[in-house]
């Protein structure tokens, strides 16, 4: 059986093979003179690699994204405080917050895990798709999922669509508010980091340009020997906030 698989199908071009790979299928044989193809699903790891490749060449430049070194987070919440001050976030809402869970180690000992969360600035953002007035949109240059509050009618459909609970209704603005990587408050003024990343004392939030091969985020996301994950990948939103452990 193994021998049969390793045999190269005669009449399949590399291009065709790639098309099948994109569908998550690997060509394992050609039968009946090329009229019948034998295909199997790619192994899990290979699929994951293919997924990551989708992040390597996007149309955004710079492509702002964030890596979160999860096990460095100590829930000091300086990020949250800095975000609130910088972006005038009211007490009833948040643009970023820290989640907490208790897990049991292999040795049976409980330990705390803190997980910073924020808008994932997805490549395929469900919030943008559902907005009836195009008040929320993905910036064509830098990939930030932005809000145009003048167009927002407060229907909250985007809140329901977001798999990451990253949006809230701002009572004062009478519009949805969300993380925009501090675009209006910092990045557009020449700052290199978001307020949360700048405030973090534990090197948890690493912010940068995923389209720049020299950037720290690029190097962290595409290093081959580390496990990198995203939240709720099954939603297909292609989130651009990556998680890893040190």
């Amino acid at each position: 059986m193994k021998e049969e698989r390793s045999k190269k199908p005669a009449k399949i071009t590399d291009e065709e093979r790639r098309t099948f790979l994109k569908l998550g299928l690997k060509i394992t044989g050609v039968l009946a003179g090329g009229t019948v193809l034998s295909v199997v699903p790619l192994p899990e790891e290979a699929r994951a690699l293919m997924e990551m490749e989708g992040y390597r060449h996007t149309k955004y430049k710079p492509h702002y994204s964030m890596v979160i070194i999860q096990n460095h987070c100590i829930d000091c919440e300086r990020c949250k405080k800095a975000c609130k001050l910088t972006n005038h976030v009211p007490d009833y809402g948040y643009r970023t917050t820290i989640l907490e869970k208790e897990v049991i180690t292999d040795e049976g000992e409980p330990f705390r895990v803190f997980m910073p969360v924020l808008c994932n600035h997805c490549l395929n953002p469900p919030c943008v798709r559902v907005c009836p007035t195009k008040a929320t949109y993905k910036d064509p240059q830098n990939g930030i999922v932005m809000m145009n509050i003048d167009k927002c009618i407060g229907c909250k459909t985007c809140m329901a669509a977001c798999p990451y609970n990253a949006r809230y209704f701002d009572e004062e603005k009478r519009a949805i508010d969300k993380c925009n990587f501090c675009w209006d408050t910092r990045l557009s003024k020449g700052e290199k980091l978001t307020a949360c990343a700048a405030a973090c004392p534990a090197h948890v939030r690493i912010f940068g340009d995923l389209s720049d091969k020299e950037s720290e985020v690029y190097k962290l996301v595409f290093q081959p020997d580390k496990i990198v994950w995203v939240l709720r990948p099954e939603c297909g939103a292609k989130p651009c906030v990556f998680y890893m452990n040190d």
Partner: protein
């Protein structure tokens, strides 16, 4: 006449209240050998359980007065009470060096309980926004 009577009652109540507080504090010190210490500087918050460390076979002399003064809160006043100092073997780093006890740059959340942990231990805080648990 009536108001002096009231003052006496209040005076007695205050004395009893202070007594109760001091007894409680004394009892806690005796029972748990220092009780639970929560550091809030430079980050909120780090927990230190005296009883956990006593159970490891340590006694008061192991840490007092070096590297820690007996009076709670003394170390926190020092500007060098930071992780960097711990890595250099100061404060907790005297033992938490990877040999005597787990290294200071590992298992962060074993000691760091965060703002959430702090709020749980100290009760609801006015400065919180009520969404801490989210």
């Amino acid at each position: 006449m009536k108001s002096s009577y009231l003052f006496k009652i209040i005076g007695i109540l205050v004395v009893f209240g202070m007594l109760a507080v001091s007894i409680q504090a004394f009892a806690q010190d005796e029972e748990e050998g220092g009780g639970t210490i929560i550091f809030t500087k430079p980050v909120k918050a780090v927990i230190f359980e005296h009883k956990v460390h006593l159970a490891q076979g340590l006694d008061c002399d192991s840490c007092h007065d070096d590297p820690f003064e007996m009076a709670a809160g003394t170390a926190e006043q020092n500007p060098d009470f930071t992780m960097k100092s711990l890595y250099e073997g100061k404060y907790c780093g005297a033992c938490h060096d990877g040999e005597t006890a787990f290294a200071s740059n590992t298992r962060c959340t074993a000691c760091h309980i965060g703002v959430k942990g702090y709020n749980r231990l100290t009760g609801p805080k006015a400065e919180g926004n009520g969404h801490e648990g989210e």
